[in-house]
């Protein structure tokens, strides 16, 4: 009986152990098979997380590597809910936040923005759990308003909003990388598990702009606008041999570093205006190219002519002038005669060949490309006015590119603003080399003894042309508001630079291209030629 009793108790123990092991095993099977994936996911969620790595926005440099737009890394400090007052006071002491008082944090709240690396390290060394540091990038524009209308600016989110910052946004931003990481108890990443989405690194861009030349252009432009009571203006300097834009100044400008900036347009690309007499050499080039005239052709010019009941007159009676002298004196009557020689179709076609009314090959947000009056039944007065720059509009950049044709022996080139070896420069022979030289000769007379005499340089030979335009307002030409322009090519004989200047919103006191724009051209070209190391004469 005793043995039986003993065996019975032993049996119960074995049975209990067996059932326990069976229960554990079945639970294990249940957990592994039924809930395995769910629990695995739960565990992974606690230890792993996906994070997005944004690349620092690329910088913009000038051709010499001088920064025009750079991103500076900083850190924003956030308090998470439950941050204690003691911890807050420690942070307050480190960051010297005098005005900030403690209040219980119920949600993620910004404590301080744009912390330096040193401050970030001090905060991290406190090892406070209820804090979060977020990396941020602040954009800086060292040249400020000098290049603001060209470079533009980007928002706090790192997205380009204006200028080249906008048009090259995808290159400057890159594509963020997404990765899954393993985290430790303090929730900081300790190992990369996998790359969920491959990114693309941001890239810097180099402009063809030279900061020193840009400074010269902007300085004299602002000075001239203020001295002549103008309201706005543009300076463009092109390197004819490299087919690059060296400077592009536009006034009024703004400070891109100021978050309260008020945006001003880039007038070089956006302000299409009636260019006035500055187009006369283009019409002359068309007439020479069509064998209708040569620069020595004698032209009989009355002081005024009547076209469709409108009087076109010159400031004095020239009598007989050679074709090149029409450009030198900027004769309206002479330009009208050249227009009639060409006829509407050839005249309009000629302007189009020079790039007018066509988009420019520059990646810039919303460029303008002007227009030409090309109605089927165009009247005689409209043909006449086209010859001296009314009835068509063009941007300063289009005019500059058109004039660069004369410096480039009759070949049209698309100028570039980004240093990019893959950029294919479009080129097309528009006029013969002889025609280009003839026009340059005519333009040299403008400087020597013509309307552009105030642009004459003591040490350099240049060719140029003046332009004065009455501004069209509400369908009428106002004789109280003018635009003065001047474009020059030099220094002779290399003719490596094309310099365009214009000043807008001039009053009725001093407004002509010869008296306002030509002296501005002289100042700019003198400094730029010297800076670039040209020695002539």
């Amino acid at each position: 009986m005793k043995i039986y009793y003993k065996n019975w108790r032993l049996f119960l123990i074995f049975l209990f152990l067996f059932l326990s092991i069976a229960a554990i095993l079945s639970r294990m099977v249940y957990v592994q098979v039924q809930q395995g994936n769910f629990l695995l996911q739960k565990g992974n969620n606690q230890n792993t997380s996906e994070r997005i790595i944004e690349f620092k926005r690329g910088s913009i440099f000038d051709k010499n590597g001088i920064p025009l737009a750079i991103s500076i890394t900083g850190f924003d400090l956030f308090a998470l809910s439950g941050l204690s007052e003691d911890d807050f006071l420690k942070i307050k002491n480190i960051l010297k936040l005098k005005d900030l008082e403690y209040k219980p944090f119920n949600k993620k709240s910004l404590i301080s923005a744009s912390l330096s690396f040193e401050e970030m390290r001090k905060i991290r060394s406190l090892r406070i759990n209820r804090l979060e540091l977020e990396k941020t990038y602040k954009r800086h524009y060292p040249l400020g308003e000098q290049v603001a209308p060209l470079v533009g600016f980007s928002g706090r989110d790192g997205y380009g909003l204006e200028g080249l910052e906008k048009s090259y946004n995808s290159i400057l931003t890159g594509k963020p990388l997404k990765e899954r990481v393993l985290k430790d108890g303090a929730r900081s990443a300790i190992q990369r598990l996998e790359i969920v989405e491959f990114g693309e690194n941001s890239r810097d861009i180099y402009l063809t702009i030279d900061s020193n030349i840009q400074y010269i252009a902007y300085k004299y432009l602002v000075e001239a606008i203020k001295n002549n009571d103008g309201t706005a203006g543009t300076v463009i300097i092109l390197d004819n041999s490299a087919k690059e834009v060296l400077a592009l100044a536009s006034y009024p400008s703004y400070n891109p570093n100021n978050p309260m900036r008020s945006i001003k347009k880039n007038r070089a690309f956006l302000e299409s205006y009636e260019p006035g007499s500055i187009v006369k050499p283009l019409a002359l080039a068309g007439a020479i190219e069509n064998n209708l005239i040569s620069i020595d052709t004698e032209m009989e010019l009355p002081i005024k002519i009547e076209v469709d009941g409108n009087i076109i007159n010159d400031r004095k009676k020239y009598g007989q002038l050679k074709a090149f002298e029409v450009i030198k004196e900027s004769s309206q009557v002479g330009a009208t005669q050249i227009s009639f020689l060409l006829g509407a179709e050839k005249l309009i076609d000629n302007y189009k060949k020079f790039g007018f009314s066509k988009p420019v090959n520059i990646n810039f947000p919303s460029t303008s490309f002007g227009s030409i009056n090309s109605r089927d039944e165009i009247s005689d007065i409209e043909i006449a006015t086209l010859g001296y720059g009314y009835g068509l509009t063009a941007t300063p950049f289009q005019i500059s590119q058109a004039y660069a044709i004369f410096a480039n022996k009759g070949t049209y080139y698309d100028f570039k603003i980004i240093k990019d070896n893959e950029f294919q420069i479009f080129s097309e022979q528009i006029i013969s080399e002889k025609t280009a030289n003839d026009v340059l000769f005519s333009m040299r007379q403008v400087i020597e003894d013509g309307t552009g005499i105030l642009a004459k340089l003591e040490n350099f030979d240049v060719s140029g042309k003046t332009g004065t335009t009455e501004k069209l307002r509400d369908g009428n030409y106002k004789s109280s508001s003018y635009t003065a322009s001047f474009i020059g090519i030099g220094p002779n004989p290399s003719n490596e630079l094309t310099i365009f200047v214009n000043i807008d919103g001039l009053g009725s006191q001093k407004y002509s291209g010869g008296s306002v724009a030509a002296p501005l051209f002289k100042k700019i070209s003198n400094d730029v030629f010297s800076y670039m190391g040209y020695f002539n004469k």
Partner: protein
């Protein structure tokens, strides 16, 4: 036969134990390498900040605007037109 298997099993156990240590060691190295990479990334950005600051400062010190201001205001210099080169 038993005498043959025992050393093999023992040797395998030793290898497995050794490999387990290696795995732990490699994992530790990966993690410390990752942390170093994170640290160096931050250090790189800090140095980049410094580089940009120095570059901007260099540009400011060399800028024609500053030189012109110094020449005119501090040194009282005036602009002289270059003479003709004969």
């Amino acid at each position: 036969m038993q005498n043959f298997y025992l050393p093999v099993i023992f040797f395998q156990l030793v290898i497995i134990t050794y490999l387990s240590f290696i795995i732990v060691d490699v994992r530790w190295e990966i993690r410390s390498g990752f942390k170093t990479q994170e640290r160096l990334t931050i250090q790189n950005e800090e140095l980049e900040n410094l580089y940009y600051q120095l570059l901007t400062e260099e540009f400011f010190l060399n800028s024609p605007a500053r030189i012109e201001k110094k020449a005119k205001e501090d040194l009282g210099m005036i602009k002289v037109r270059p003479k003709k080169i004969k």
